[in-house]
Amino acid sequence: MTLRERIVNALLRLYPATWRMEYGTELAELLRRRPLDAGVIWDVFWNGLRARILVQLPAAVIGLGMTGVVIAAYMTGARILEPTDITLPSLVVAQTNPRSALYVLVLVSCGVWTRLRRGGSIGRSARAAALVTFIADFPVLVVGLATVSAGVVAAPLLALPYSAVWGAVGGQVGSWIASALQRFARVARPPRTSGTHPGSDNAPTTAPTTHETR
């Protein structure tokens, strides 16, 4: 494999898998047919990153918000979230009591938002919540790596399964909300007066429970 092919493959990997399946071959072909200068690399890099963030929108937004909270809390000494080992263990590793109901609420909300916005399985909500914690803890992870502190590095990683569980809870709550909304839409729909096939009220609704906002 040539260096050029390696660069093209690396750039394509920035895009979400679903996008690559649809457009990856075409973009790769286009990149093979033109000079691969810095401007082109930056253009593909930036658009790939944007596509990746848009796909992970709920988790990315909440995660970056939480990163801000973590940094602000560290800089000001404020105990905004009272982090614990269940929530943000990187800040307070030794504590065992789950005091941070607020952060759990954030993870559950992320699960709900992911389920309502993107649909899919509960596993997707769980992964989104884990991603939130990973993004939020990223600065701590960097500090841990820089200071070669195994405890500081391990703590954010160990928090991922806990976060996924809360995300899954949120995903389940999101499913219930989606079902309730669907039922409400069915009840609120005005009755058909003409051209209605008998028994058509029992037909499955086509109203979407999730939507993509661009």
Partner: protein, 104 residues
């Protein structure tokens, strides 16, 4: 989210792609070279495919089946209508602006 075109109203990637496809179906590379020829705008490959993705999602253009590595895209009826509307609006603004620029 609406993006402000860097090179004026006629450099919006989506508008340029629609205008390029108005003359017939083209694949990505052909769209890029066509836009460079008629508008003098160099679209990056990432920008091009981001705009193509958005246009396909909005059903303004549609991919055609192809055996090759590059699929051609064609303008849909909805896309043609939107392009016509946007171009008419641009012409109206341009006419007003040019008229006002004329010396009294």
């Amino acid at each position: 989210m609406a993006r402000k075109p860097k090179g004026g109203p006629a450099s919006d990637p989506e508008l340029l792609i629609l205008a390029s496809l108005a003359s017939g179906a083209k694949h990505g590379y052909a769209i890029m070279t066509d836009i460079e020829a008629f508008a003098g705008v160099k679209l990056g490959p990432g920008t091009l495919y981001t705009a193509i993705t958005r246009l396909v999602d909005r059903k303004l253009i549609a991919p055609q089946s192809s055996a090759g590595r590059q699929r051609p895209y064609r303008l849909t009826g909805q896309g043609a209508a939107l392009l016509a509307e946007q171009l008419r609006e641009m012409r109206r603004v341009a006419t007003v602006g040019l008229t006002r620029l004329k010396p009294a």
